[in-house]
């Protein structure tokens, strides 16, 4: 047989879809090929070889994201029975199901990276892994539910939209679906808020008080400014934007929409600096963020305890699924 490589003309190697890090090469060479591909904007699939540094970083990131989706349903769940109308009850129930579904989709990504769902839940319940700060707080009124669905989900979608460019392709694809569902949540939340501001003085106050409560945690949510050069997740292009870029994006879109409703953002320093081209704000309370995400927030322990209880109560379901169903067989 003719050696195809002996034929003319041959395209340069660069133009081919070769994935040299998958070849049987010394580790350093593989690593260099992998790093060059990823830092140039290339995508990685679950079946690709990847250095441990990358695998661990993606896993940690996706796991924290999945945990946040799973824990994030708890504050909203508390309001399903108290939703003011049937339509709101249905919408909130659907949102809670969506968020649980997001956790499932993300845990699937993490499982393919090598950590079992069992181990993920184990670590979450033992306090070894984290979930987002905003889900460690109590909810006080239906106004909180509007502000959570509108602004917490909005702050999240800003980050999630950027993750559609993640170098880890299974994660990026999952984010496509999640972002589509999140946009419904934001509409639901905004509709709740707009309805309340059009209501009685009491209902209006209820939203304003909710905004006052949530503004601090919202500003902390994306995390402190980080050094771009030292951020490993940025280096590997697991995420595409820094925390400050995400916060600026959130402020640019949502400050005008909040003010449009006559609501007052509880930060006297908040303003757009035309010259610098960015928003100025009171430095968020980073001590509060650290306290809360290490499970010392006002509802951290109660929410984890609820999950532990829930896990025990549903154990029989998992066991039945794995063992087959004796009830059906009998």
């Amino acid at each position: 047989m003719t050696d195809p490589l002996a034929l003319d003309p041959v395209l340069p190697v660069r133009e081919r879809s070769e994935r040299p890090w998958n070849l049987d090469l010394p580790h350093d060479e593989r690593f260099a090929h992998f790093e060059a591909h990823v830092t140039a904007g290339g995508k990685i699939e679950a079946t690709d070889w990847m250095p441990d540094e990358y695998r661990t970083a993606v896993l940690r990131f996706v796991e924290m994201h999945g945990n946040s989706e799973l824990m994030g349903v708890l504050p909203e769940r508390e309001w399903i029975m108290r939703a003011p109308t049937l339509r709101r009850k249905l919408a909130l129930t659907a949102k809670v199901q969506d968020e649980a579904g997001h956790a499932l989709l993300l845990y699937r990504v993490a499982e393919d990276l090598g950590k079992s769902r069992e181990a993920i839940i184990e670590d979450l319940l033992a306090g070894k892994t984290k979930f987002h700060n905003v889900f460690h707080y109590p909810t006080h009124s239906w106004g909180d539910i509007g502000i959570i669905a509108w602004l917490v989900d909005a702050a999240a979608i800003v980050a999630q939209q950027a993750l559609r460019d993640s170098s880890y392709a299974p994660y990026a694809r999952t984010m496509q679906k999640i972002c589509w569902e999140e946009s419904v949540h934001i509409m639901h939340g905004r509709d709740v808020v707009v309805t309340l501001v059009n209501g009685t003085a009491g209902q209006r106050d209820m939203v304003q008080e909710a905004l006052n409560r949530w503004w601090g945690p919202l500003m902390q949510m994306h995390g402190p400014r980080s050094d771009r050069a030292k951020d490993r997740d940025l280096h590997w292009r697991i995420k595409a934007k820094t925390s400050e870029e995400l916060r600026q994006e959130f402020l640019a879109i949502y400050v005008p929409r909040i003010r449009e409703l006559g609501l007052v953002i509880p930060d006297p320093e908040l303003r757009y600096d035309e010259a610098a081209g960015e928003w100025r704000y009171t430095e968020p309370d980073w001590d509060e963020l650290r306290t809360v995400v290490t499970n010392h927030g006002p509802r951290s322990e109660a929410r984890l305890e609820f999950r532990r209880l829930n896990r025990d109560e549903t154990r029989w379901v998992r066991e039945t699924i794995l063992a087959g169903s004796p009830a059906v067989a009998a």
């Binding site: 041959v10 070769e18 699937r108 067989a329």
Partner: protein, 122 residues
Amino acid sequence: MTDQHSGTLEPYEVFRQEKEGGPMIHGGNVLAPDPELAVHYARELFARRSESTRLWVVRRADVHVLDDPDLLDPPLDRSFKKPGGYVMRDKLAAARGRAGTAKPGARAASHDTTGRRTGKTG
């Protein structure tokens, strides 16, 4: 129940069709002990908003993968296999010059790519 539960969970890949006649697009995957539950999970995750008209649920182990670039993307110039591999604008102009004919109107029906502004070669 016809399927034996094996006692282990396995990944199943889910493909969705958005509208009748459309392509099956990979949606994601689920973990299930058997095909029956895999289909139920797939329905909950990928079709609860009327966003799919059909789902294909395939055991990951049953998917045969070909991703060898030597076979899929051989290092040879294969532009002759693609419509964009034929650039004849100048030759056509020359032919019209020899025949003394005019260029047909832009709206003339065409099944090749000679009328297009950009023809990707390679």
